[in-house]
Amino acid sequence: MGMTMTQKILAAAAGLDKVEAGQLIEANLDLVLGNDITSPVAIKEMEKMKVNGVFNKDKIALVPDHFVPNKDIKSAEHCKCVREFARRNEITNYFEVGQMGIEHALLPEKGLTVAGDVIIGADSHTCTYGALGAFSTGVGSTDMAAGMATGKAWFKVPSAIKFNIVGKPDKWVSGKDVILHIIGMIGVDGALYKSMEFVGEGIANLSMDDRFTIANMAIEAGGKNGIFPVDALAEEYMKEHSTRSYKIFEADEDAIYDEEYTIDLSSLRPTIAFPHLPENTHTIDEITEDIAIDQVVIGSCTNGRLDYLRIAARVLEDRHIAEGMRCIVIPATQAIYLQAMEEGLLKIFIEAGAIVSTPTCGPCLGGYMGVLAEGEKCVSTTNRNFVGRMGHINSEIYLASPAVAAASAITGKISSPYELDM
């Protein structure tokens, strides 16, 4: 009986020739990640441990990104706690405001995540790095504490669902539509405890940014991780961003999958998840009534990368957002911000009536920088539309791609670029 990509990586990290689904293993970690919400709890837990410091100061990444620049005094205290811990333990990869970005966009860009790695992060969207052929998964603060101290974590080896990707997407269909389509199909617990393994010739038609977006939202289907095979494009990305050596794992021919699905990219349409679950998906063609919106957010660990700012700019160029609309654009990292500036994208956003923010997770989780009032509706390129996620419990979030978000900002209702005759 063969192993999946995920199982092979976990076996290697546990020093075993073979693992099977359900087996409990202890794996060596290549990277342990935390942010300004989860790290303070982890630091407090680590202080209870009989250890003198971290297992490896180069293999820990601390990225204050949720409530920075500090949104209030309590957040400032949390950030100070993380900063002082980083200084005390000489953490190499601590990213201060000015260097930071949204963690899951930042770490691959900084070359800290490569194929074959085993990564845990005290943030549920840590599954993003599967786009590069790494095993990465979200954990809580106590796991982060134990990981920082010991360099190890326990895992139950997951079974897998295989998604065979074929075809080529239409120009206004991107990674977000692919993953929303999948979540709509299998549900928010459709991949509970499992790995989501994406394979097939259609992957060649997905950019790296698309793959990051798809792997990022594996957790929204309950998945333990999402993972892609390493192809020439992924290798090119790693060579461009990282000096670390990487290891490519491929699934065995006779690997066992609980379920298999084929996703034909050419059949996908812009897809929107209605309140209050990411599985409540509708294609743009299925929306027959006008849904007026108050705010649009383009950014986050899901959709704040350069590809998506370019798509949004293409839609917003020489147009203006609807009267009364608030459109918030958040480049995910400083490097993306700078590149967007050099390409003239920020000018397009500002001339269209949008605002451009420093990198932050702020509005995605209702922290700051775009909190919703009672009764307000938002089209957001973020990843969750739970009750109260972005503000008042009677506000509504529609999850969509950057193309749909930008088009909706212009018309003032849920729209796609097709309606703008693009």
Binding site: T38, K44, F67, K71, G121, V139, A146, W154, V188
Partner: protein
């Protein structure tokens, strides 16, 4: 070890944003987090919950964010056990790691209503509905996790290994 208390009942996909909304995550103090526990799904919860009470839910309890603040808030509010048909995986891990007892049991999830008095025997995995006079067998933890829980969470477990 046993838990006994009155049940608060919820449905599918109770996410960590309703268990502890992110607007309160500028704090990591368990007592403070507890005062907002379940606020966005049940405003009455913090007013009514008594030490030892039990949460019963349906599928995918604790989905969403990895915030450990969610099981911390539930535990600090006095809840002695969460029973659900299934748990989201990060919540499941976090609950074990901080020593909040949880049990997966689809039948109990269906056969217990809000306000029922329920008793749980963690050693046997048995769940007794004292109000209705029914009983259910919950999914026991693997031995490895039982050791973590017996030590009171992951950190004491690791300390005990040294």
């Amino acid at each position: 070890m046993n838990a006994k208390g009155i049940v608060f009942k919820y449905g599918d996909n109770v996410d960590t944003d309703v268990i502890i909304p992110a607007r309160y995550l500028n704090s990591s103090d368990p007592a403070e987090l507890a005062t907002h526990c379940m606020e966005d799904i049940d405003k009455e919860f913090v007013k009514k919950v008594q030490k030892g009470d039990i949460i019963v839910a349906e599928k995918n309890f604790g989905c969403g964010s990895s915030r450990e603040h969610a099981p911390i808030a539930i535990k600090a509010a006095g809840v002695s056990c969460v029973i659900a048909e299934t748990f989201a995986r990060i919540f499941y891990r976090n609950a074990i790691n901080i020593g909040l007892p949880i049990i997966e049991c689809a039948e109990a999830s269906k056969g217990i209503d809000a306000g029922d008095e329920v008793e749980v025997d963690f050693d046997s995995g048995m769940i007794y509905n004292r109000t209705k006079g029914t009983e259910f067998k919950g999914q026991p933890f693997p031995e490895f996790m039982q050791r973590i829980i017996a030590e009171g969470g992951l950190i004491p477990y690791i300390n005990s290994q040294k």
